[in-house]
Amino acid sequence: MAKSQQLADLTTKSPTVPENIVVKCTRLTKVFHDFWFRNRVRAVDEVDLDVRRGEVFGLLGPNGSGKSTTIKMLLGLLHPTSGRISVFGKRPDDVAIKSQIGYLPEESYLYRFLNARETLEYYGRLFHQSRTQRQVRIDKLLKMVGLEGVQRRSVGEYSKGMQRRIGLAQALINDPQLLILDEPTTGLDPIGTKQIKDLILTLKQRGKTILLCSHLLADVEDVCDRVAVMYGGRVQRHGSVDDLLTQQNMTTLQTESLDAETLKQIEELLTRRGKHIEKIEQPRQKLETLFLDIVHEALSSGAATSGASSDGQIADFLVGEDRAAHLPESVEPEQVLDDLLGKPETKEKATPQPVSQPPVPQLSPAAVDQDVITDLAAETPGVNVNADPQPTTPKPKPTEVDHSVIDALTGNQPDTTNNEETAEPASGTSPAKKAKSDNERSGQGFDNASGDVPNHDHNASNEEQSRGGSQ
């Protein structure tokens, strides 16, 4: 049954809850007792929450403010003392809605004696997935989270970051409509944090709803649409990120470097209008971006790591048939080879859909023909000029992140995806990616993605590619 049909069934059953509200809590309260049934702790106190379809909702607050407790009540792990909860229009006890929910708990609660593959197989079985379906999805998920190389090791021997990644994989195995993440970035290094943030944004573009709960404010700020701040079990403030954060009474301009003369003129102009300049400075790159740049350089030069590594592709069943978003990570020689030889899974004719269908991993014949033709027609053989529009950011820059968030908030299509060619052979991916990385380093940003990769860079990328291939 198509997911949209299932969802429609689920939500239309309850006429009292409007269709676009995925989670609704009304005066939710939870009081914990002690052994003698005396009331001791009011963990959640009269909380009213709405999570709408397709948004990223952040539940913030310091430790002990009742965020995790609220989430557990949403999932049916705790019974509320009073108040009402509806998830997809049903009570949280309902078993059927769970097939649309993915949950990443704050700590990794996995079976220590299973390895990564067996863990995902187990959770796949719980979703009634057939063996082939499980196989395909597990391969993609393991690749996405970068645990392909260690999939036969028992989970009990993983590092914390690796355990979080497997937790994320199991949360996504059923391609859920509602993803509940409890402290997703806690304990991850900046690379992992960036990956999670990009994943959240990509999923949001595909129409999923994400409920996020964290105390790491910088991470939340970048991805959330609406937030609720909790303290002492109560929601202190809630609203959209823009409304809460934008300082309505100030304006920031960002331009290229200005000389003193121009600055003086601008100041005069403003003074004439009755305003004055509060601050002039050169913007700083975020430390996160610097960190990621350094790591990327190290990876490109071939430094080894024994932990998790990721090729950066988000599994395509999560994003539909569109080309997968690229996350900034390790480029391995095998990956390059595979890409060149053509992996069948990535691209197909993309029709924008609110819900992603299970992937059909084949190249449509039309796409193949087109590539061959353009290939033959291209000046530089072996490189497909059409192949470039890389969805996001092999290299993160502050401008890119802002773009995606802004675009998402204002509902624009980000430059990356479906606007351009619909078909893109995998062969084009890697050299173009390399080309992109070169471009990034030379300072051209996100905007390049829409597609004019300067020709002169292709030769450089060809050389690099052949170097990589002979390793």
């Binding site: 557990k72 792990l77 097939s99 004696f113 079985r125 009634h128 063996r131 036969r152």
Partner: protein, 650 residues
């Protein structure tokens, strides 16, 4: 690069084989047969190990290091084997060698493969050859039992692993119940708690036949082996089941792995069912493997030395078979009822009771027991007759030659040789008893089939020519047995009954785990199980524990009886006796609530070559399997459904 390595490896392998083989032939030709033999085996061993090791090493591209390790290990095995041949040490040393070899296999395999599911298979492969070499050496030093035991152990382990693989395959469908079951089986095998019991079962079993090398008759030794092996299997499996069932649920709730399971579309009932299914399948596998082991070793034992020809024949007739027992009836002209009435009249006259005594149940019961006892006693110089009916179909059978009369006589006075002198007549004709009758010993008298008359009767008359009265114990002292089934099918039934008990135990463990913590759950489950098994015995002993329970009293009278007894004891300062009263009440409540499993224990039946009847099997399936397991499961489900999994108690 690869090609060069292959060539090197191949050359070395062939070279080793050729050199070793030719040297051993030379040694044998020179008359040093032992040395030649050992060297030959050593060469085979090393070549084999080199082959296996080489394949893995090449696959891993760590050619040199691991091949050297494997070669060294092979050399060590060979040298040790040679040493034992030359020194003729005891079997204990060989056992240590086996352990060392096993460890070596595990270590090497673990180094070679990083797919955990392959490792057991690889260990078995490597172990196969090692076991063969060692058992051959054991045969050489005439330690037959060790060789057989080793091979038996290995085969049981191999079939266990094979069965496990099969179960895993069966459970690989995409269903929540099967998924939970599959994960449970992985947990059982990889977490050491269950594995310990599994290994114990697989290791103890082959050692049992050789446990008592006494001079007892072979049939008793086999019977003892059957009893011990079934009983120990039941016990070890029971322990494993309890620890596994309680541990899995308690552990998942405590370590919160259940959060991730319960937030998926799995209902609580499906989860419990999946756990139970996993334990039941694991038990089924272990029971089958143990059963196969018991069967193999029992058949093996029948080839051991018997003390005489009669003993050897009796092994087939009395132990490795399945017999039905028939209890005797009173001869024509007498009836139990009539005798009971007569007895009651007698008592009434003597003790001046009224007519109501005839209807008094307890009096009738006592009179009945007395009558039976008297019938089972042959007075000195007199005789008694026992009639066995319904033997018409047996008479016509061709696969058996005899029916067996089982008697356990006891006499007050015995001559010096301890023998009891009896004469027997069957259907009016004298029957010569082929053996001497001994006091207080269960004896079997074989009666050829043609003695049964056309009506299907055997009328056995015992004439007492002894110096005193001879009596047979009323329940088992006089019965007729005939073969109705084969040993194989009987063992299968016995094994199935043990499995049903384990299924019930698993459900009890799961139910306990849903409610309380692990230690409490274990204790509770074991208590329930013990009560169930010993319930018959418990009822009897409880009836006299603190307060004598009068069976005919009404409920109110019973309550008053209890309270007055307790009050009386408190009044006289006998506090311990007063405390015993509520203990008895609680124990009796437990016995009533818990099913009675005493009669579903097949071990004594199989040990005595008696049939596990269809009726018994049916009852077991119904009561143990369906009713009690289902009830317990229902209780567990109801508890689990309402439980808040993430609750913290402050």
């Amino acid at each position: 690069m690869w090609r060069k390595r292959w060539m090197q490896w191949l050359t070395l392998w062939l070279g080793l084989g050729v050199v070793g083989g030719s040297v051993s032939v030379l040694l044998s030709a020179q008359g040093l047969t032992y040395a030649g033999f050992v060297l030959r085996h050593l060469t085979i061993g090393v070549c084999y190990l080199w082959l296996v090791g080489g394949i893995f090493a090449l696959a891993q591209q760590r050619y040199v290091l691991w091949s050297v390790i494997h070669l060294a290990a092979g050399v060590v095995v060979g040298l040790l084997a040679m040493t034992f041949v030359l020194i003729h040490e005891s079997s204990v040393m060989l056992f240590l060698l086996c352990a060392g070899v096993g460890i070596r296999s595990v270590v090497v395999v673990r180094a070679f493969t990083d797919r955990p599911s392959w490792r057991p298979m690889m260990v078995m492969l490597l172990g196969a050859f090692d076991i063969m070499v060692i058992s051959e050496v054991a045969l050489l030093i005439e330690s037959d039992s060790l060789a057989i035991g080793l091979r038996g152990m290995y085969l049981m382990l191999a079939s266990f692993l094979g069965g496990l693989w099969l179960i895993r395959l069966l459970l690989s469908l995409g269903s929540p119940v099967l998924g939970v079951a599959r994960t449970l089986i992985d947990e059982a095998v990889r977490m050491k708690v269950a594995l310990v019991f599994i290994v114990l079962i697989l290791v103890i079993m082959p050692a049992l036949p050789f446990a008592n090398e006494s001079n007892e008759a072979l049939r008793y030794r086999i019977g003892t082996f059957l009893h011990w092996s079934l009983w120990s299997t039941s016990l070890l499996l029971g322990l494993m089941t309890v620890f596994l069932a309680c541990g899995t649920i308690c552990g998942e709730v405590r370590d919160r792995q259940i959060y991730l399971t319960m937030t998926k579309p799995v209902s609580r009932g499906q989860y419990l069912l999946g756990k139970w299914l996993g334990i039941a399948l694991l038990n089924l596998l272990l029971i089958c493997v143990s059963g196969a082991g018991i069967y193999t070793f029992a058949r093996l034992m029948q080839g051991f030395e018997a003390i005489n020809e009669y003993d050897k024949a009796m092994v087939y007739e009395q132990v490795l078979t399945a017999r039905t027992s028939v209890i005797p009836q009173m001869p024509e002209g007498q009836s139990a009822e009539g005798l009971v009435n007569k007895q009651l009249q007698h008592v009434m006259q003597e003790q001046r009771y009224g007519e109501s005594l005839l209807n008094n149940e307890q009096a009738r019961k006592e009179a009945f027991n007395l009558v039976i006892e008297r019938w089972h006693t042959v007075p000195k110089g007199g005789s008694q007759t026992y009639v066995f009916t319904d033997l018409g179909s047996v008479r016509l059978r061709e696969d058996v030659q005899t029916v067996q009369l089982l008697i356990k006589p006891s006499a007050m006075d015995l001559p010096d040789n301890g023998q009891i002198t009896l004469k027997m007549k069957i259907n009016g004709r004298p029957f010569a008893i082929p053996q001497t009758i001994l006091h207080e010993l269960v004896q079997v008298i074989e009666i050829p089939l043609w003695w049964i008359n056309e009506h299907g009767w055997l009328e056995v008359q015992i004439d007492n020519e002894h110096i005193s009265d001879v009596s047979f114990s009323p329940d088992k002292g006089m019965q007729l047995l005939y073969k109705t089934g084969s040993f194989e099918s009987n063992l299968l039934r016995a094994v199935m009954m043990i499995w049903l008990q384990q299924c019930f135990l698993a459900m009890v463990g799961l139910m306990a785990g849903t409610l309380v913590t692990f230690p409490v759950a274990c204790l509770f489950s074991m208590m329930i199980f013990l009560t169930a098994i010993t319930s018959g015995f418990l009822t009897e002993s409880l009836s006299e524990y603190a307060v004598h329970v009068d069976e005919n009293a009404t409920t109110w009278q019973t309550i008053t009886q209890y309270t007055t007894t307790m009050w009386r004891h408190l009044g006289t300062g006998e506090y311990w006796k007063a405390v015993k009263v509520p203990i008895q009440v609680m124990a009796e409540a437990a016995v009533v609530l818990v099913p009675s499993f005493a009669k579903y224990n097949p071990a004594p039946l199989v040990a005595e070559g008696k049939l596990v009847t269809d009726k018994l099997m049916g009852e077991a399936v119904l009561f143990v399997g369906l009713v009690w397991t289902g009830l317990t499961g229902l209780i567990g489900y109801l508890i689990f459904r309402k439980r808040e999994l993430a609750r913290v108690t402050l």
